[in-house]
Amino acid sequence: MAETKGPSRKAQKLSTLSLFQQPIHPGSAISAMNFSVAAVRQILLAADALEREDPLRRAKRLAKRRVALLFYEASTRTRTSFELAAKALGADTTLVSSLSSSIEKGETLKDTGITLKALGAECIILRSPYSGAPYLLAQTTGLPVLNAGDGMAEHPSQALLDLRTILQRLKIRASAVNEKCLRGITLTICGDVLHSRVARSNALLLPRLGARIIFCGPEELLPESATAMGPGVSIERDFDTALRQSQVAMVLRIQAERLAGLKIDLDEYRRRYQANTERIAACAPKTPILHPGPIIRGMEITDEVADGPQSAIAAQVANGVPVRMALVARALKGGRR
């Protein structure tokens, strides 16, 4: 559209929608792409520092600042760790969930956001079943928005805590994070990639640090178009083959609530894609096994693997709090770098 004679949008944009829209606050974390490599390093360094800090001093950092958690979908890990993170920094938090609020009466995301802002919220942590919802909330409130998972699209704080877990296992310090720090590292993400916002955020983050991502899963849960996530992302349908090339593995739950009529042969799925003792012993005997949760024991992962020595699942959860402390602190400082 840049030719001189055709129609073009070079003319100044003065949209009517834009009259109601505000720029996205730089402290927002909506996509893994919001973080430059330098910003990733700084967030992880901040997570380290905040984790080590004396809890009483730490609680003065955001004393009495107001953080709202707006959750339109169920959550255990993400909600609790964001809440603990904000509270650890001294902020007041309030939880609004779809089942106990005016959302039930049909209030829109925009109006709910405006209401929270009027109540003094300086930052909103949003989980939504709709992809892209955090952009709308950020544009209509002007507040920093932290994406706690939007539909099938992204879960950037999860990608950061997964990265922290991987770095710990590989004994790489946060200060060493750069474009090459994960060179030679391959992460296989196996399972329901189609519906996974965790898979997408990891695929947008880790290759920028030098890692390779292999997506693994059946065609119904992993379309060929998934490789378009970006460079460094490929598909391998055979889990054993993928595991043999990987230094880190992540398994995903089949998201029954998003299958939308899709029928999966679960017995066949277990046979081909389950992380079980035999497969792990044969193909990935030392590989850390991650899972963003919730796990469905006996489906994508067995008890032995989930509770075994290679499991990094509890470490992932534990890393949620320091990473989210860093994100909340960044949001309320206006995202200064």
């Binding site: 004679k5 073009s8 919802a133 099938m152 992204e154």
Partner: protein, 427 residues
Amino acid sequence: MKPLLIRGGRVVDPASGQDAMRDVLLRDGKVAAIENPGRIHAADAEVFDAKGLVVAPGLVDIHVHLREPGQSYKETIATGTAAAAAGGFTSVCAMPNTIPVNDTPETVRWMQSPERGASARVFPIGAATRGSMGEALTDYAALREAGAVAVTDDGKPILGDAIMLAALRAAAAVELPVIQHAEDTRLTGGCSMNAGALAFRLGLRGMSVEAESSLVERDLDLLRQVRRGHLHVAHLSTSKALNAVRAARRAGLHVTCEVTPHHFALTEESVGLYDTNAKMNPPLRGEADRAAMIEGLLDGTVDAIATDHAPHAAHEKQQEFERAPNGITGLETALGLAISILHIRHRMPLAGVLALLTSRPAQAVGLKGGSLSAGSPGDVAVFDPAARWVFRAAESRSKSKNTPFDGWEMQGRVRLTVSQGRIVFRS
């Protein structure tokens, strides 16, 4: 009403093949005379100086949503046709997905009543089935008698083979086209954009090309079984479906089709970060499909440019992408986009572009109009084919401002629109 003399313009009338400097006199709502410059003397007439301008038949849009009755907060027949007039359109065909659905002669007449305050001629399209529920046919003879020019369940495509076949037969009997929004909705549940890499990246469910092409192919199979049946495919968006139409036409079937300006101007990239003004159905497609739409327009496979003007209130579009309604406004940008892209960029002759906006759509649904000769309706669009201008949604005559073309610079600007001899727009 005072007669109107449009003087000194270049008359381009695709229906008659005329392309020459002519003066045009409108009197009593009709074209009274078209003569060589200076030959018409009408002392009582108001004179419009059309020097440097093109004088064309009023444009014909066979696919608009005027939202009345039932959703006048989005648009009314008055505001929608005011937008039409601003875009040079003097005839619009109104889709039946109103509330209630336009499935009776009473609603057809209500929409055409002078009380609606229309600035353009409104030709209702009746629902093909009662309530557009896809179960029982409406009374096509009665709808036609009341003024309907076609039948469709636009937006709720007719999926059942038997009912679609019955619709084609019943419509053929009263010489109406059946318009189909070609989407196999069994394949598109929860989908909000084109299927493919971009949809995957954005975490949105995608509508496949096959969801469109398979229904077009099914409809063409049914059309083969109907004597004198006429199928019109609404807003084609994929190369595959277009090829099916092309082949069927070659095989002698009476099938016509339309393409929207947005499907030849934009691709799915316009969705950007969940811009709801790039959400419509059929969705914006990839570059190969966009290029195929251009090719179909240039080679004559496509009969009409139709806007699928679909106004929605700001609060409706300002929602999560998957929740926002489908559609964009289009009446005021169609001519500028068609001239800029088809005429300027792809060198399509102006008469060819205008044919897609006048005579050919009129023919597709059997309208009188879309032509400019003595005795034809006094519907005229006068535009400056060289004027470059910037479209501002805020200045739109439509009640709604949901357009992805806000701030776009385009070429070809309407200067005067006349409906039945009356000036309805002037800039």
